[in-house]
Amino acid sequence: MNLEFTPEEQAFRDEVRAFIAENHPKELGDFGMREDMTREEMVAWHKILGAKGWSVPAWPVEYGGTGWTPTQRYIWSEENARANTFMPLPFGVSMVGPVIYTFGNEEQKAKHLPGIRSGEVWWCQGYSEPGAGSDLASLKTTAVRDGDHYVINGQKTWTTLAQHADWGFFLCRTDPTAKAQEGISFILVDMKTPGVEVKPIKLLDGGYEVNETWLTDVRVPVENLVGVENKGWTYAKFLLAHERSGIAGVARSKRGVEKLREIAANETLDGQPLIKDFDFAKKVSQLEIDLAALEITELRTLAGEQAGKGPGPESSILKIKGTEIQQRLTELTLEAVGTYSAPYYGSIANDTGSNEYAVGPAHAQHAAATYFNMRKTSIYGGSNEIQRNIITKMILGL
């Protein structure tokens, strides 16, 4: 047992650091902090990594994975967080990709995996419905067989960034008579198919990142069914476990704590830097301690995965703790900026293209919006209460 990098791992870190320094698009500025990013900006780094062969490190090597050890993957996320890169979005890379290479047929692999790797094809996730949130298996969207096609009808919601999507993966009910979990199928849908309609939902922070997706008599070829009809729930759960690993966001949160310390060093309280105030400093220490624990827990989980275990129920712990920490980080940042948390910057700038409301220090301008935005993290990906149900069943055996 040790925490040190071997000389080979140090060399790998240097290689990665140099590659990011040379190739990450500098003209895009402080990536990830802007709410008005274009599709091209969001996939810029993905495409560069795709060309390099580094866009899907966790995939099996035969499908384009890098074969990195858990430590190398750790170094990879550390270095990306350090450079504040905008990483490939998860919908293709960590959600539908693993489902396709695990359960899909050869045609599906050949058709879809290259576009996911390269960043050319944008995917979105059609899981939640207005009436099916935590109780996902109660979903009502139907896919009815009609010759060589399924005809899909229903409504999905919280479809993240579907406004840019080329393809979507949808859970649809194919057997209305079966028990809830047993009549569901996993179907790939070209978002340009007639009958697919995407409508934006405006969020608390003023941003548009999720949508309602309406499906009206959408005709999809049967070859777009992944795996076996009515077995979609198995693939859906597999996907959710994959989604949860990496959801902890440790490297990003470490970068966030550094940033919080910088902000707290520049804000004042009683004539001295805020970070010198014991009450505030104590909250930062508690956050760092919890984050240190999460980091080691994630590394232990990765080491277990390398020993042959796939992402298991332990990933639920990472999801709970990781999102709690991400939220506390934004909460402390909000507290740190004090009165300048109040001015509204978000969508007024978006709507008018104007920056006239940008008052106060630059570090304060995203504090409230980010805090509001990050409330989603304990809700999405299976709410943290659902994660507790999973641990109850899978780990406690109750």
């Binding site: 047992m1 040790n2 301690i289 080691i296 232990r300 709970i320 109850t392 780990i395």
Partner: protein, 376 residues
């Protein structure tokens, strides 16, 4: 980076786990801690025989070449069985002072006895008014010819009733609470002028108030440089914290497992109480707290050899995080056991008591939060 245990470490864990299971069942432990002696020297002898007491010493010092990770493995198993025998005072604390600060002669004189099980140590550092500050000392050691004369009162010296030797901290110079002027001594407990008031602790161990009245010791009793003992004390107590955190992890693991099992057996409203979501989620939070504690214990243990700032930050992080987990798991375990949790008969209450006292050893959550903040 590597999170695997070596084959030897796995063997140590298996061997100890068997010993605790076979020699330390609940009724045997109950009788032993209620006996006049309060511990079992024959278990100590077995630990020596198994090589456990010599594990963290280098081969050159007469040990088996292990280190802090071995101590962690050992203490976790002790924690599972609420073992009372004084491994931390003897092997981790006294052993640590000898390893890091002892002269060749001192190592020669004492390490052999520790490894063989014939010497048992207690670490007399706390004082009635010193709380968790190792430099806040009223005990003095005055130079007298070549040696020193010790006077003072040491508080809650764990394992002192069983000890043959004591490690004692005392002020040889400077003002009370100064960082300099602190020295460390090794003395035989039967030295003239030492008296003890022995007692039982709430978590089933034995301790003593130890009084020094003009206790004369030779120059060879001093460990490390005179007046410069504080850094050494901080290093050794950081090692002791890592080991004690591992013990708490073992106790938490069992407390959690017992609680889950109890919730499966205990029926109310016609169903097992473990079927209630309100209890399920609390037991999940206990489980998460346990995993958090294990991770922080790994971190502290693996950082013991790092530079001073990094070591102290990791150890304080662990003492805070493990302390918080221990408090949560102890209290929740009792709550979910209901009335049975507050009886002497059920084992869970004894795990609760050990996990409670753990917080006060080598600095509590607040103390280590302050140290973490101060390190920035």
């Amino acid at each position: 980076m590597d999170f695997n245990f070596t084959e030897e470490q796995d063997m140590v864990r298996d061997g100890l786990s068997r010993l605790v299971r076979e020699q330390y069942d609940w009724e045997t432990r109950r009788k032993a801690i209620a006996s006049a002696e309060g511990w079992r020297p024959e278990v100590w002898a077995q630990l020596a025989e198994l090589g456990i007491l010599g594990m963290p010493f280098s081969e050159a010092d007469g040990g088996f070449g292990g280190g802090a990770i071995d101590a962690m493995v050992i203490m976790e198993e002790f924690g599972k069985g609420l073992v009372v025998e004084p491994f931390v005072p003897t092997v981790v604390c006294a052993g640590g002072f000898l390893k890091h600060g002892g002269t060749a002669a001192q190592k020669e004189e004492h390490i052999g006895g520790i490894v063989a099980g014939s010497s048992v140590f207690a670490f007399a550092y706390a004082e009635p008014k010193g709380r968790f500050d190792y430099a806040d000392l009223e005990t003095t050691a005055k130079k007298d010819g070549a040696g020193y004369v010790l006077n003072g009162h040491k508080a809650v010296v764990i394992g002192a009733p069983w000890a043959s030797h004591l490690i004692v901290t005392a002020r040889t110079g400077g003002e009370r609470r100064d960082r300099s002027g602190v020295s460390v001594f090794v003395v035989a407990k039967d030295s003239a002028g030492i008296t003890t008031r022995d007692y039982v602790t709430v978590d089933g161990r034995r301790a003593a108030e130890v009084y020094f009245e003009n206790v004369a010791v030779g120059a060879d009793a001093l460990i490390g440089a005179e007046g410069e003992g504080l850094a050494l004390i901080e290093l050794v107590t950081d090692e002791a914290i890592a080991a004690t955190c591992a013990e708490a992890c073992g106790a938490m693991k069992v407390a959690h497992a017992m609680t889950v099992e109890y919730s499966r057996q205990r029926k109310q409203f016609g169903v097992p109480i473990g079927s209630f979501q309100v209890l399920q989620h609390r037991m999940v939070d206990m489980y998460t707290a346990y995993e958090t504690a294990v991770s922080l214990t790994y971190l502290a243990t693996l950082r013991l050899g790092s530079d001073e700032r990094e070591r102290k930050r990791a150890v304080s992080a662990a003492k805070v995080g493990v302390g918080q987990s221990a408090r949560l798991i102890g209290q929740e375990a009792v709550q979910i056991h209901g009335g049975n949790g507050v009886t002497d008969e059920y084992a869970i209450g004894h795990y609760f008591k050990r996990l409670t006292i753990f917080d006060s050893e080598f600095g509590n959550v607040d103390h280590h939060m302050k140290r973490h903040v101060a390190l920035g």
